[in-house]
Amino acid sequence: MNGQRRGKLKIYMGYAAGVGKTYKMLEEAQDLKASGIDIVVGYFEPHGRQETIAKTEGLEIVPRRQIQYRDSRFEEMDTGAILARHPQVSVVDEFPHTNVPGSERGKRWEDVEVLLAAGIDVLTTMNIQHLESLNDQVWQISGVRVRETVPDWVVQQANEVVMVDLTPGALLHRLQRGVVYERGKAERALQNFFREQNLVALRELALRQAAHEVEHRMPEEHPVPSPLKRHRILVLVTADPKTAMVIRRAKRVSDFLGAECFAVTVQNTGDLSGLATADREAIERHLNFARNLRIETRILEGDDVASTLVDFGRRNQVTQIFLTRPRRKTWPLAFSIDPAQKVLDLAKDMLVVIVSDRDPAKP
């Protein structure tokens, strides 16, 4: 074994179940096998789709691992068995999957990281709605809050992202014929996620993301026409549940601009000890969330949130501050100034971005 070579990751990206990601991936697996590559199927989700199942014929399948959780048995990918078998390439379906509690790792993409670190190449599949930074936009478009997400940096690390395309018309046709799901589930899907306007919008998102992924992997960095000053983005973390949305948005913008991104919370004790339990937990959760997206986090000490934040920004050459919307006030309460209002007043030398709510459109 030639030690530390990291495996290559290829992601088949689609915009909905049934566009043909797994089919396409297995087609490639068959081609690789035919050309003499040692390849196994580490995980495959058949969903009862006959044409796709037929594509696994002749491929070695690593049996799944049985996991007992509460009163039920679950099956997950057996990462240990794949490592022991150590093929050149492993097929791993459904990249964003969350493993059942009791599994070694929480997420399938973390299992894939282990395979890659061991030098095994991986082919995998995912839909655009599982990309973390698009979570709010997807919610706005579809009304569905996707829980299983993959951080953007994981996708950025992939060697290749390939778009698997199908028109929404053809996809709906497949769904109606019962190719994608069995009938009852198909009907529910048609009423909800698979509305035509959702599919068209998600397809557009996927195409734009695929274009961005191509650009991101260009052989060399190209100078931007106008001299682009280095952007630094600062996010204020509070207990407000909308903080997660602001973090995602700031991260997406900083990724597209090639900017650095920090997330900070301001506390007068310099730590979280002085907070009520609910607030402390919310802030911890938001800081953790930021770190999982590879954003540097800090707890700043200060009595006044706005001035501490803006001072920190000035000292660190921050060019943009991202905030949640201030709470709407009514006249009698007007004297209690929201930190966001105060940041707007203090940071007149910086770009301040107030991230709006993205509630779903009414169907």
């Binding site: 936009q137 706005q140 478009i141 290749e160 390939v162 778009m163 698997v164 395309d165 199908l166 028109t167 018309g169 053809a170 306007q197 068209v200 919008a201 998600l202 397809r203 557009e204 998102l205 195409l207 734009r208 695929a210 274009a211 961005h212 191509v214 650009e215 992997r217 260009m218 052989p219 060399e220 931007v224 026409p225 106008s226 682009l228 948005r249 913008v253 597209f256 601009l257 919307r325 201030p326 709407r328 007007a334 004297f335 209002q341 707007l344 007043d345 007149k348 030398d349 910086m350 770009l351 301040v352 971005v353 107030i354 991230v355 709006s356 709510d357 993205r358 509630d359 459109a361 009414k362």
Partner: protein, 360 residues
């Protein structure tokens, strides 16, 4: 990058398609499906033939009207299963023979071919129009290089002159368009010669262009869908930035940053100004200077009118599906703020629109 498409508004594009359909009598017109690629070898032939196979399984009578002479080895058996209407001299599609044979559907590869002089049409895509009008479905393919409106961009990438093209409107009016995406062939790891690297980069740029053109076409389809179903709210699948001009706005920086964001996100940039009734001479000249900056940058400035500037701006933004609104910092502080500034209104009522407040 593929911004050329957007010079035509979705409404114009739709009207064009409808006018065309009416002229033809859309009822018995054939259905056009186009596979869009960016290089030979990405798999368009395979996708067309696979489509033909599936249609045949459903009982459709499919023939080959035109196929490139050298198909990859793995698709050859697929071609052999189909009836082929041979090309005429000069690689022209035999339209008469197809119309006479009257299959349910036919495959026409390479939409951008020009016919030699003396044929019924000058180009192959016009042949396809005739075939569709005769009620025959067409499965076609084209590479992004041959889209007429993208010629300049493509020539800048490849350094080669493109002579045979298909108008974008023809592709946009297809009933279905699918992208055939695949990574470009990798340069050998051991000897990454300069030529190889440049070749790979050229292909990546064409690949990106193909994805973006398809995204723009899908965006038109989305707007068309929402309009047909009377859905007012436009959801943001792409970034749309609106720069708001005010007398003291640092417009240069806003424009520069707006252009960077629009370029990086492959989004759109709009500029608007809300007309004010009583405005001081100083403000007027400051405003004129800013309008001049916007015009010099090639931006079209929308002049909006309304009693409430913030509301007017928001209404325009909602209508255009704006996702980011660029405004200048407000001058007001303290007591004046308590009454609520236009900025507060933008922040509180701009649903789904981020408000970016710029330094002066």
């Amino acid at each position: 990058m593929a911004a050329d498409i957007r010079r035509k508004t979705p409404e114009e594009y739709l009207r064009e398609c409808q006018a065309e359909e009416e002229a033809v009598g859309a009822q018995n017109k054939g259905h056009l499906k186009i596979f869009l690629g960016y290089a030979s070898g990405v798999g368009k032939s395979f996708r067309m033939l696979d489509e033909a196979r599936r249609r045949r399984e459903r009982g459709q009578d499919v023939v080959v009207g035109a196929m490139q002479p050298q198909v990859p080895a793995e698709v050859e058996p697929l071609v052999r299963k189909l009836e082929v209407i041979p090309l005429k001299a000069g690689n022209a599609v035999d339209v008469e023979a197809l119309l006479h044979r009257q299959p349910a559907a036919c495959i026409i590869d390479g939409l951008a071919y020009d016919n030699p002089p003396g044929f019924r049409n000058a180009t192959r895509w016009q042949d396809v129009k005739d075939i569709l009008e005769a009620g025959i479905h067409v499965i076609a393919s084209i590479n992004v290089q041959y889209v007429a409106e993208l010629r300049e961009q493509v020539e800048a990438i490849t350094g080669k002159h493109v002579s045979q093209t298909v108008p974008l409107s023809f592709i946009q009016c297809a009933d279905e368009i699918e992208i055939v995406d695949a990574p470009p062939p990798e340069a050998p790891m051991d000897r990454p010669g300069e030529g190889m690297q440049e070749h790979a980069e050229r292909l990546s740029r064409l690949r990106e262009l193909a994805l973006l053109v398809t995204a723009d076409i899908v965006d038109c389809q989305l707007n068309d869908y929402l309009e047909r179903h009377g859905i007012k709210q436009r959801v943001g699948a792409s970034e749309r930035i609106l720069i708001c001009i005010t007398p003291r706005a640092n417009l240069r920086e806003m424009m520069e940053f707006g252009q960077i964001i629009a370029q990086r996100f492959h989004g759109e940039l709009a500029v608007a100004y809300v007309k004010q009734g009583n405005i001081s001479p100083e403000d007027q000249s400051a405003l004129d200077a800013r309008l001049a900056i916007a015009n010099a940058a090639g931006a079209h400035v929308e002049l909006l009118e309304g009693n409430d500037p913030a509301e007017t701006l928001l209404e325009f933004a909602r209508q255009r599906g704006i996702t980011q609104l660029f405004v200048g910092h407000t001058q007001r502080t303290g007591i004046a703020r308590l009454k609520g500034s236009p900025l507060d209104k933008l922040i509180w009522e701009g649903h789904g629109i981020d408000v970016c407040v710029f330094p002066h």
